[in-house]
């Protein structure tokens, strides 16, 4: 049974406590704050341990909550919001919540935004989030802990809806890519899904630009012998906003599928056409051509 984690309701119990406490008059300010405040770092020139990278486009409603949670993940932490193609107050909201903001006039898309943020990051651990889904800091910590503990690519173990007989094309693509990479143990984990964390070593080995095609980056990471592990499950499918489809198709699905094909193509080009699999003694020469 999948564990249900309630993220959307993070603040409600606190508020209720706050109300009750204010009635009785006995409450300590530090323990019952209405909203978890950002822990500001003292100004030092030392690079932080953790860089949280959040691409955002027109996400002014949620971005502040996302940044606040991100700042609570680690005591030494910087948050970089890549505000691209925004026509609302996303950048301002992020800045007032305590993030460094990179502004881009034109929309970049999630993946390119991530790679732009990575280039500006100074931390030893990169954690990648989305601007539209606030996830509690406690749920994000396992990714950071894993990378500090020696993992190079820490993935979300979430694999999408898999209880039906025929899964969504993107879910299928993720599973099959991992199988092709001889990493069926990763199941449907992928760099396409947030949250995930990378080590500085992984970023240097792959290059920040490489992250703009996430499945390709995953294939390269596995092939380079980096430690890739699925460390923690956050069912992001439930948190995702429902988006409009374009003539019955999700446009993002097409891009993600093409990315996966590109990754398979790259992997087969650096190994061999059979992806290092056996042929079980097929006598190919016996067949007339």
């Amino acid at each position: 049974m999948m564990r249900r984690i309630r993220y959307r309701r993070t603040y409600r119990p606190t508020r209720r406590k706050y109300r009750q406490a204010s009635k009785t008059g006995v409450w300590s300010r530090t323990r019952h704050r209405t909203k978890p405040q950002a822990r500001r770092m003292p100004h030092t020139d030392l690079p932080p341990v953790l860089s949280v990278i959040i691409p955002a486009m027109n996400e002014q409603k949620t971005i502040a909550a996302v940044v606040r949670e991100a700042l609570r993940v680690h005591p030494s932490c910087e948050v970089i919001v890549v505000a691209n193609g925004c026509r609302d107050r996303t950048a301002e909201a992020a800045e007032s919540a305590g993030a460094r903001v990179l502004r881009y006039e034109h929309p970049l898309g999630h993946d390119v935004g991530r790679s732009a943020g990575t280039q500006a990051a100074r931390g030893q651990v990169m954690l990648y989030l989305d601007g539209d889904m606030p996830i509690g800091a406690g749920q994000l910590r396992p990714f950071v802990t894993a990378v500090i503990g020696g993992v190079d690519v820490a993935l979300n173990r979430y694999r999408g809806p898999v209880r039906r007989r025929q899964a969504h094309p993107v879910v299928q693509a993720k599973h099959v890519l991992n199988t092709m990479l001889h990493r069926a143990d990763l199941l449907g984990s992928s760099l396409t899904a947030v949250p995930h964390a990378l080590s500085r070593r992984a970023v240097e080995k792959l290059g920040a630009e490489c992250l703009s095609v996430p499945p390709l980056a995953l294939a390269k990471a596995v092939n380079a012998g980096l430690r890739v592990e699925a460390v923690h499950e956050i069912p992001v499918g439930r948190l995702n906003k429902r988006r409009a489809k374009v003539d019955g198709k999700d446009p993002l699905q097409e891009v993600v599928l093409a990315d996966h094909i590109q990754a398979v193509k790259w992997y087969l080009s650096v190994t061999d056409p059979r992806g290092l699999r056996s042929d079980l003694g097929r006598e190919r020469k016996r067949v007339r051509r």
Binding site: Q166, A167, P169, T179, V246, I261, P273, G275, S278, G281
Partner: protein
């Protein structure tokens, strides 16, 4: 008495009816033993079947004893039934109806001639052949050929490879079999490719020597290809568990179909027997491609050939369990995953990419978040 509150009523309605229905459907998988097949002729069921029976009686009276020596393909029975269908059956019926007519006809035929007859004449517009691959299958090969003899095949090519038992003599006992004997082992699916290269029939049915499938279950495959479909596949979808419990091989198969724009094919592929292919498909992709079935399927689908699912034939439970094909990460699974890698490689080499990869990331971002 406890009153049913409003709350409990709503709670009841929250039961996942769709899920329950789906689970029930999953339970009613046709089992191998009780595949719904038309039985012997029963009078009064349909006018056409009665007419077929009467016609069978007339033809049976004309038949002589030496007829059993001839293959069904060139027998007077097949010819007479085809002629009768051409004159009496206006619209091409579906395979179930056709099998019923055939049964009725042969019922009358057997009654009048006084001999037992299990043959199934089928009116086919094209010639049909079967390719059977076998390697040390002396126990089942005879039965497989016996079933194939009941259908109007022009020839049945038996590819024997690496046999060290009595498979050869088992095949020799059947007149219909043309034997291709290879002393050494050929490996998986190479025999299919060699067999397909040997025949010139318009419809080629592929099956294995280790699983006996009745002629009634095989007939729909050749009938479907005779209708104009290029490839008729065994529909194994009903036997699949939910995606989370499927193995790697199944996932590769479904993904290949999905990427090629045929999600309705599910996890079915040319890897599973039985399946029937049209000559034009084999010639278009080249018979040598058939030794890597997923590659053949990928090329055929990419070239726009029409695939269809016929019916579920349970070859899973009949499959012999060998040390190499059980458990996760076994040698056969490794082989088939490699086949799929090869299929992807062939597709990419041919300059093929999934549709609308031209939609750029920024456009997507604009559409989603603007």
């Amino acid at each position: 008495m406890r009153r049913r509150t409003r709350r409990s009523v709503t709670a009841r309605s929250r039961i996942n009816w769709a899920g329950r229905k789906r689970r029930q459907e999953r339970r009613t998988i046709p089992k191998r033993s009780r595949a719904a097949l038309p039985s012997i002729h029963r009078a009064g069921e349909s006018k056409l079947a009665d007419a077929a029976y009467e016609e069978g009686l007339l033809e049976g009276a004309k038949s002589n004893a030496g007829e059993d020596e001839v293959l069904l393909y060139e027998s007077p029975l097949q010819r007479a039934f085809t002629d009768w269908c051409a004159s009496h059956v206006k619209k091409r019926p579906d395979i179930r109806t056709m099998l019923r007519l055939s049964k009725s006809y042969i019922g009358g035929y057997a009654k009048a001639s006084g001999r037992k007859d299990a043959r199934i004449p089928l009116p086919l517009a094209r010639t049909a052949a079967a390719v059977v691959c076998a390697s040390n299958e002396q126990d089942t090969l005879g039965k497989v050929l016996q079933q194939l003899e009941r259908l109007p095949f022009q020839e049945v090519i038996v590819v024997l490879n690496g046999c060290r038992d009595q498979s050869y003599s088992a095949a020799r006992n059947h007149r219909i079999a043309s034997i291709l004997h290879v002393p050494g082992r050929l490996g998986h699916d190479v025999g299919r490719s060699m067999g397909a290269a040997m025949t010139s029939a318009d419809i080629v049915l592929f099956t294995d020597g280790d699983v006996v499938i009745s002629a009634e279950e095989l007939a729909p495959f050749i009938y479907k290809v005779d209708e104009g479909i290029d490839a008729a596949l065994n529909d194994l979808n009903p036997y699949l568990p939910p995606y989370m419990h499927q193995d790697e091989v199944t996932r590769c198969k479904s993904f290949l179909n999905t990427v090629l724009g045929h999600p309705e094919l599910g996890a079915n592929s040319l890897t599973a027997v039985p399946h029937a292919l049209a000559r034009r498909l084999i010639e278009n992709i080249g018979s040598e491609q058939l030794m890597v079935p997923p590659k053949a399927q990928a090329l055929a689908l990419a070239k726009g050939h029409r695939f269809a699912l016929v019916q579920p034939v349970d070859v899973i439970s009949a499959n012999r369990k060998r040390p190499g094909n059980t458990g996760t990460g076994n040698a056969v699974a490794d082989l088939i995953i490699g086949d799929h890698a090869e299929a992807f490689h062939a597709l990419i080499d041919a300059g093929w990419m999934p549709q609308s990869s031209t939609v750029s990331r920024t456009e997507v971002a604009l559409r989603r978040n603007a």
